[in-house]
């Protein structure tokens, strides 16, 4: 069969040289690779498509298209190209070509933990501002991330620039649930309404994650390190108090609600002792139980905690 417009479009395998596998992301393998034509280093995310007679699934098409639209914001990892190919078994494979970033926030925090140093307060402030700005951009375009965690926040250690990765991939690719360690880790940043089985997410779920990341930047330890959904909830309740209908109207009607041990709320300063007053106030507004009461990313950027930050290059 003759191919219309059959100019030479390189397949992913021909266009890129895989240098090393740098991770097994939630949605597929991730490689550091070099684009042969330009010599540019990129991150290749390889994902099997769940095909049937429809070809490319509509959800994949819709969500990848969002990523292509978001790729001009400086705080979202840029999706530079998409290549469709076939693997050895003849199955369709999608290669998402992202800009490469040297490290992520998880490694960054770990490096400070290993040396025993604290992250400088102005560095924390700068990273948090960039995170709020990136999240505000996504939310301003009606897009939730739903899986914000230090591993998904890529960084350039030289410039201290931070970018959000894996945006929208939660819905673009339907992946069977895996019982791996990293799957458990994602519980640490999950909002209580999600853990309690709320079916209608709002942008507030991302703000909760931002709050958890904020605390972790200060203490270098996860704020709520649960190893099961129940343990995750109990961690939260021990610090913030067991929620009730007074502090969170509607909570007892959520699907996974049970009777829980009754704890009184503790001061956030007990969990994040070295954070100043303004930081504690911002953190408390990010960790409100009632989703609608949680501060928005845009409002967070205007919080007094960031007043003394030089924002000109952010």
């Amino acid at each position: 069969m003759e191919k219309p417009g059959g100019g030479g479009v390189l397949s992913a395998k021909e266009a890129f040289e895989k240098l090393e596998k740098v991770g097994e992301g939630t949605y597929g393998k991730v490689y550091r690779a070099r684009e042969k034509a330009t010599g540019k280093i990129v991150a290749l995310k390889k994902t099997r498509l769940h095909e049937d007679e429809e070809g490319v699934p509509p959800t994949t098409l819709r969500e990848v298209s969002i990523l292509r639209m978001l790729s001009r914001d400086p705080h979202v990892v840029r999706l530079m190209d998409v290549k469709q190919g076939q693997n050895k078994e003849g199955k369709t494979v999608l290669y998402l070509v992202f800009e490469y970033m040297d490290t992520d926030l998880k490694k960054f925090i770990r490096s400070f933990r290993q040396t025993g140093q604290t992250v400088p307060p102005q560095t924390i402030k700068s990273l948090m501002y960039q995170l709020c700005k990136g999240v505000a951009f996504c939310h301003g375009h009606g897009i939730l991330h739903r899986d914000l965690k230090p591993h998904n926040l890529l960084m350039d250690p030289k410039t201290m620039m931070l970018k959000i990765a894996d945006l929208g991939l939660a819905r673009a690719f339907t992946v069977p649930i895996k019982k791996y360690t990293h799957e458990i880790l994602t519980l640490w940043y999950r909002a209580p309404e999600v853990l309690l089985g709320a079916t209608h997410y709002s942008m507030a779920v991302d703000i909760w994650s931002v709050g958890c990341i904020f605390a972790e930047l200060v203490t270098k330890q996860a704020l709520f390190p649960g190893d099961s959904e129940l343990q995750q909830l109990l961690h939260i309740f021990r610090l913030l108090g067991t929620p009730n209908e007074d502090v969170w109207p509607g909570v007892s009607k959520l699907m996974n609600w049970h009777e829980y041990p009754q704890w009184n709320p503790q001061s956030l300063s007990t969990a994040v002792p070295s954070l100043d007053e303004l930081g504690l106030d911002l953190l408390s507004q990010m960790l409100k139980y009632e989703p609608s009461k949680r501060i928005s990313a845009k409002k967070a950027m205007e919080h007094a905690y960031f007043d003394d930050l030089d924002k000109r290059h952010l």
Binding site: V9, G55, V56, M69, H141
Partner: protein, 329 residues
């Protein structure tokens, strides 16, 4: 999230509209390609044929869907051209553009039904699923997976708010008429190089001049003052769109008789169905009602039309625009 022509991001906040202006060029056939295409008569006729094919094949579906499919087609042509305009290739391209548009826009309509519909033909070509999928992959690559097209519809609400008509009945009337004009103008090759926002602004100005001539000068000023809009582009685009609107008015007055160069009313399903049956013997399924704000477009009633080459309306329209421009100096 499902795709909506009016809001490519679905939940776009008002302060994020600036981003649409920033990236709309990624979703528009480039100026260079536009010039190239205009110089190639073969490609212009091929485009016209492809648009007719898409309209025929998708007339049983939502007209917004055929608009999106034609958008994909135009961007594909701008990127790839067509090296071998064979009938089966053209049909495959048309089918694949519609298939991609269906995937972006609709979940309630079973995909296999759409496939069956697309493959209806009177002894014509029926494509294997894999063939369509390979063409889809080619189109996706050419469009760089930017399938949430930014079209003139993405900007209409913004400009209406700029004109101070948000949430007013007058704004809704203008929006309806402007949307009708945008639909019809999609076929016009002369608009190829204009950005979607410029087309939206020009369509709204054309609609306001037609429906609310006394308010037209203030609407023109509101749009011209916007930092997002290039005045010269709007003026050029306005002239083309005005011609299209006048041609439509003229042809409608002649009992709907349509020459091959006159834009066919995409919304006139009955006309398309009749035309399809006569010329191709294709039996078109009944239109399925789908709720969509764009489906509520209404034809403007034509109360009268001047005869002869020197249409007074044309003359007055041009003077009006020039006058408005002079008053700005």
């Amino acid at each position: 999230m499902e795709f909506d022509l009016e809001n490519p991001f679905e939940n776009l906040h008002s302060d994020a509209v600036s981003y649409l202006f920033l990236i709309e060029s990624d979703h528009t056939p480039s100026q260079n390609h536009s010039q190239t295409l205009k110089a190639r008569d073969l490609d212009i006729s091929v485009r016209r044929e492809l648009i007719s094919l898409i309209s025929q094949l998708s007339c049983a579906l939502d007209p917004v869907l055929s608009y999106l499919a034609i958008n994909y087609l135009d961007r594909f042509l701008a990127n790839q051209g067509i090296l071998q305009p064979k009938p089966w290739v053209l049909r495959l391209i048309a089918v694949s553009c519609i298939s991609l548009a269906v995937k972006m826009m609709r979940t309630e309509y079973p995909f296999t039904d759409v496939q069956a519909l697309l493959n209806q033909s009177d002894g014509g070509i029926i494509f294997e699923t894999q063939t369509i999928q390979r063409m889809e992959a080619l189109i996706l690559g050419a469009l760089q997976w930017r399938m949430r097209s930014i079209t003139p519809f993405s900007f209409v609400a913004f400009f209406i708010a700029l004109m101070g008509l948000k949430d007013l009945p007058m704004g809704q009337v203008l929006k309806n008429r402007a949307s009708e004009i945008i639909f019809k103008s999609q076929r016009e090759i002369r608009l190829w190089g204009f950005k979607p926002s410029i087309i939206a602004a020009s369509a709204l100005l054309c609609a306001s001049h037609e429906l609310f001539p006394f308010q037209y000068p203030s609407f023109l000023k509101a749009i011209s003052d916007s930092s997002y809009v290039n005045k010269e582009s709007v003026e050029q685009c306005y002239k083309v769109i005005q011609d299209i609107a006048i041609e439509e008015e003229y042809s409608s007055a002649l009992n709907g008789v349509s020459s091959s160069d006159t834009p066919i009313n995409v919304l006139d399903h009955h006309f398309l169905s009749s035309e399809s049956q006569k010329t191709n013997g294709i039996t078109v399924a009944n239109t399925i009602a789908v709720s969509s704000p764009l489906r509520d477009l209404k034809r403007r009633k034509i109360t009268g039309c001047g005869c002869g080459g020197n249409n007074p309306t044309i003359h007055n329209s041009r003077i009006q625009f020039s006058h408005a421009k002079e008053s700005e100096k």
